[in-house]
Amino acid sequence: MDTKTILAIIEAIAKRIEEQKDFLTELDNEIGDGDHGINLARGFKAVEEKLPTFADKDIGAILKGVGTALVSTVGGASGPLYGTAFMKAGNVCKGKTSLTAYEFAAALDAAINGVKMRGKAVEGEKTMLDALCPAYKTIKSGIDGGKNLVDALADGVDAAAKGVEYTKTIIATKGRASYLKERSLGHQDPGATSSLYMLQTTLEVLRGA
């Protein structure tokens, strides 16, 4: 996975978020403050505009740039959460112009720890972590077991999709949805959904690369 691929992934994520903006907002209308799609799309539009300035940067700097753009433009909780995630991933990719499967997994792990730290959240609270954590565990054990990144990530995406389904069955204890208590049951979490989109998009780009 080289710099070009990373830039292609980011561009594809921006496109996907824009396409899914209304659906994500709809999900957030059900159990949140109804801004997830709009906010993330605003953030990734700013990221897209910054893409040309990333062309000659290393992967660490690119991811950090994405994080900074999200923090300063999203305006909702997904800004500091995804912003921290990308920045932390950027930290472990500092100076790198390509990533091995192991390094990709390490970056994802750092990103997830960033989300946990910023959101003071753990798995099972109906948040993006319910998609990200199972995805990471599956990817890591796949790679450890000798799978290549694309195959491991494909399994990780399946795990994330299951995680999104799982969020329908639990009560939110973090974020705006936690105000609804048991009324949050039956609804899928918008943050977990956008996390799934990012992983799916990464897989699609890697498959095409």
Partner: protein, 126 residues
């Protein structure tokens, strides 16, 4: 005098809290950081940072927030600023702001103020 920044998803709410706090302490150093740049609901990193700089002095700044992204964005600003005399406090926004305004105008230090404001967490209205 310790500066006070009120962070909210809503520009109206942030300005309103500043307004209410000022009723009690005209001279308090207060700044509102509410909503996004275009006035829509949300929290803006740049607006919060600008508000901190507006009321910043060596005496320090305390930041009070409503919830969610207001808290997390403020936390990131504190990490980026890395100034020990800029603090965020967990308290009810209106009560905390009134207390902060009164006590900062009364010359309390940042440390004293931080402790006092925490009392508003358990203060009953009736």
């Amino acid at each position: 005098m310790v500066g006070i920044v009120i962070v909210s998803h809503s520009q109206k709410l942030a300005e309103g809290v500043v307004e209410v706090a000022r009723m009690m302490a005209e001279n308090a150093s207060l700044a509102a950081a509410g909503g996004l740049e275009d006035g829509n609901l949300g929290t803006s990193y740049d607006k919060i940072l600008a508000a901190v700089e507006e009321v910043y002095s060596f005496d320090g700044v305390i930041i009070l927030m409503d919830m969610g992204s207001a808290v997390m964005t403020t936390e990131m600003i504190l990490e980026d600023l890395n100034r020990p005399n800029v603090k965020m406090i967990d308290c009810p926004l209106v009560e905390g702001a009134v207390l902060a305004a009164v006590e900062s105008a009364g010359g309390r230090s940042l440390e004293e103020l931080s402790e006092l404001i925490k009392d508003s967490r358990t203060a009953n209205k009736f």
